[in-house]
Structures are given as C-alpha cells and as structure tokens.
Symmetry: C2
Subunit: 319 residues, 2 copies
C-alpha cells in the first residue's frame, strides 16, 4: 500500500482504461456521489468504465446515472470509493474483488489500507477528495457531476448540520452550486421525504414514548410488532434511533429495538456530560462517550430494562 495524493490519482486514472468503480454495501449518498461523479468524468474522457454495488441502489439516487449507458467489460483497474474496509464491499463484490483494488479513495481514518494505492484524508465526505482528483485531472465539473458531489457533501454532513462540516465543505458546496448543482431538489429528496410506512412507525413509537427522571431520559421502543403493523423495516430505522435525544430537555436518549430472535438492541445517545460508554459498560456493552450500545435478553427483558434505568439514574444523579 502506497499513499497517493490527488494529482497522483489523476495521473493513474489517465494511464488506465476499463476501470471498475466499487461502492460500499447499503450504498449512501457519498459512496454513490463519488462513484458516479468519477464515472461521468472518465466516460467524458473517453474511458470505458462502470460502477458496481453489491446491493440494489435506491431509486432516489437515479439522477446520478441518468443518461449514462454502460456495457460490461473485464476490468483492468479497480477503484474503491468511500470504503473503509474490504468487508464493506458486501457480496458478491467481496468474493469478486477483495485483494484486487488498485486505488482506494476514502475519508475514514479507520481505513484498513487494503488497496495498492490509497488517497486518504479525514474530511466531511469522500466526495471532497474525488473533487480534488477531478480538479487535478482538469475534468469539467458538469451540472451532473456537481449534483453527484453535492449529494455526498450534503448527506454525509446531515445537510451541513453536523460537526464534521468544515469551512472547506461550505466552500466546495458554493463551487458546486455555481457549477449547476440542484441543491434544493437534492436536499428535498434526501432530507424532506418520508415514506408512509416510516411515518406509521414513528406514530407507533411516539405513542409508546416513555420519559424518566424529570424528563432527562427518554425511552423509545421499537418492536417486531410495530414493524409488522407499519410495514416498515430496519432499513428505515435510522431516524427513529435519533428521535429520543431530539426531545427538549433530554440528555439520555434510549432506543430499544427488538431483533428477530426477541433480544433487544439498546442504542444510547447522550449529551455532555453524560457518559454513554460508562452506562453501557455496566450492562456489558460499550461504545463512545456520546453514543454507545448494549443488549437486553429475551427472558429478563423487564428486569434488565429496570437495571439499565437504574444505572442511568445513578449517572444522572452523579453529575
């Protein structure tokens, strides 16, 4: 593994053809934005290239590949974008391409350095790095490429809301807007739209919301029965997990999610100074100071839930 910068990536891509671009499983706006921005630039440059993903790509990203037609080919050069670990290729890409990546472009410091060449820097979104590679390639940032890259920036920062957003992120967003990115429409699709099944799940969950300790702790429970009633599923559950700590005054948000086998996965989200890792550690779990997890068994669910609440109460009283 050798480190590459943007200019070296650009030169390597210029020298190659029949380029396969890998995205991670459960693809998100960043891995897809990187892949299709790079694909469009390569195709414009006369290269043969295509994007591969182990999972089906959600239709809401369809604008990224609109107007592109690609045929299959045997790859001579393999690029992985926004993938920290080969295991995240998913199947069938893991079996097909592990150990074969020529160039990895990524923003995760946890990257396992699996590629032959690696362009890695911590930043809000890998799209920031792909933009640099395209700039070094003197590729034209078309409206379509700008849409792809903007999507990565926006989705990986919660629409510029999270603390990973840097001045550079904002300035790149400005450049992409000038290049024609349809930011308002992209943000509408990515952040405003909710499915009916998700809304039904949210309603059921809110109906069961429990508050403890003068409103400092909120407990949200998501059962298999709620998934069944709402027609929703695990893949729509991200919003639910953040619901509990969004309630005014809450410093400990607890989400209990029932698994297929009847055990409960506990997600704890806290605000300073409450230590989520400390609380979950006492339950046999672990994690970070503001986000941690543990498990509750099937047989002793109520007893273990009470024990968890007791630990939270002690932690709240100690601060």
């Amino acid at each position: 593994m050798r480190e590459y910068n943007a200019a070296q990536c650009a030169a390597a891509l210029q020298a190659q053809n029949n380029i396969l671009i890998l995205t991670h499983r459960n693809p998100d706006g960043d891995t897809l934005g990187c892949a299709f921005a790079l694909l469009r630039a390569l195709l414009s440059g006369g290269k043969t290239a295509r994007v591969a993903c182990s999972d089906e790509i959600p239709q809401k990203y369809a604008y990224m590949w609109a107007g592109i037609s690609v045929s299959d080919f045997t790859p001579d050069y393999i690029v992985a974008v926004d993938i920290a670990d080969e295991k995240l290729f998913g199947e069938p890409l893991y079996t097909g391409y592990r150990g074969r990546v020529d160039l990895c472009i990524d923003h995760h410091l946890s990257n396992t350095r699996y590629g032959d060449r690696l362009f890695l820097r911590e930043c809000a979104a890998t799209c920031e790095l792909v933009y640099e590679v395209l700039a070094a390639s003197h590729a034209e940032i078309t409206k379509e490429i700008a849409d792809c890259l903007y999507t990565g920036l926006s989705t990986d920062t919660g629409c510029f809301r999270y603390s990973n957003t840097t001045p550079h992120t904002y300035r790149l967003a400005a450049d992409l807007l000038e290049a024609g990115a349809d930011a308002a429409e992209i943000n509408r699709v990515m952040f405003e739209t909710k499915t009916r099944t998700y809304l039904k799940l949210e309603e059921l969950v809110l109906n069961n919301l429990q508050m403890y300790f003068d409103g400092k702790c909120a407990v949200v429970t998501v059962t298999k029965e709620m998934f069944r009633q709402s027609g929703s599923n695990e893949s729509e559950c991200d919003g639910i997990a953040s619901l509990s700590r969004r309630i005014e005054g809450v410093t400990v948000g607890v989400t209990l999610r029932e698994r297929e086998d009847g055990t409960f996965k506990v997600s704890l989200r806290t605000y300073a100074p409450v230590d989520a890792a400390k609380i979950c550690g006492k339950m046999g779990g672990g994690g970070h100071a503001r986000a941690a997890g543990c498990e509750l068994s099937v047989d002793n669910f109520e007893t273990e839930k009470q024990r968890l609440l007791e630990i939270i109460r002690e932690e709240l009283e100690s601060i």
Copy 2:
C-alpha cells in the same frame, strides 16, 4: 427614503450613539441574529445600544445575549433589522416607533420602504447584509458575533436546504465557522430539538393522516382538541404544516387547521406541475403556484372539504 449601501450604513452608525435596534414580532433567528450581532459590535465600539422586541424572545436564542448587560436610554438613532413592514414591529413597538426608523436593513423585496435610510438587497438572510455592514465598519467578527450571524443564515435557509441558499451564503458560513461559530450546536438547537408537546401533536396528527388519489394527496388535520390533548399550540405548528408534503409520492399536501372560532384554515403545498393557487382560487382563496391557502367554514366543513378534494382530483387528472 434613501438607499444606503453597507459602507454608508457603517458610517451612519459610527456617527451616532444611543442606538435602538428593533426586531420583528414573533422573532426568528435572522432578525435576532442581525440585532445581537450589531449590538455586540456597537457595544465593542463604545456605543450605547440595546435591542427591542415586542414579543418575548425564546430561550433557545439565549446564547446571543449571554454576557451582555445593557441599561435603558432614550434612543437617538433607530435601526430596524429584517423587518419588511412597520406593522411587523408588533405592539408596543409599532405604537412607540412607527415613522421613526432612521435606518432599515432588510432582505425582503416586499419591504415597504418605511425607514429614512434603507439598505436592501435580496439574499438568503438579512444577516448577510449585517455582516457586510460590520465588515465595512472594520468590526472584529468575534465568536459571539459569528454565532449570531450564523444562526440567521442557517435558520432562514432551513440549514442550507432551501433554494434561497446561494454560493455566497455557503461562503459566508465558511467564514463564520472560521471566526468560531459553534455551527453544530446551533443547528442542533434550531433543527434537532422538538418539544414533548410538539411530538404529542405530531403523533395525534399522524394518527389522523388521510391519503387520496393513489397516494398523491395527503390531508393532515389539526383540531383544537389536538392542541388541547397535546398541550401544544399554534406557535409549534410550522413543522406540522410541512408534514403532509414530506410523504413520499405526495404532490399535493393539504393541512387543515382549526381556528378558535371553529373555521378551518387550509394550507396547500404542491410540487410541480400542480398549481396550488389555481386550486385555492376555486375555493375563494389564493397564493403562489406551490403554496396557497383558503378557508373552510364551520357549518359546511365536510361538504367544503369534499369540494376541495374534488377540485384537487380534477387538477391531478388534468396533468
């Protein structure tokens, strides 16, 4: 009324003292961000100044005035920020100061040009203009001032989500981040936190959600009884109004809100090509292509609601 630019505003403020800064009623992040940024800069420059608002300022904005102590004084110079019309002063400011504004700084093209001097330009937030005035004054953009101005930018653009966000908005956000603005915390308070009463209202509303015409039309009803049950009120209703059109596949979102007198206010939100103004026009109301309104009477609520749905059906079938 004479037009001023940023440098002229800066010179005028430099020449004055005992400066009163007016904000609009139902104050939001932009009017308050402008006011407290300007106040802090004026106080640092040795001026006597204070901010006035007809309504109580919500506690979530408390960081804007943290550490400031001001005493009362008789104003010699009156500045209005982000106020399109004197009527928006609210009471008691309207009675006290209409016809007396020396300088108005605003981004609404609908501004009624009530001030003696006016610095007006259409942009995402009036905070963009106040930033220019402070820059022209060579005022130091402290962390506290950056927090105020960032709040205006972020809240008036729905956290950089709406189509009013320009490249300039993003670049200014980058500058304010570099000046120390605590963007992630501000966005958490402004966009993540929901009150328990609002969540209860959302639950009741979702429980009553009605879908029509193959899921293209969603109708959300907010009754007085729901306000009573949830403990919520009109001031928390903004989120509810946007709920109906956030559902996947919906092109016409209808919100029916019951007033004190039992009549219903109808808010229609559409996506292209559905014409909201045309639909509401047929009901005796009006508005814009994507956002319009009308009324339903107490006595014939169900009949009028059916008539509204019939008009929507015809409009959907015609496109």
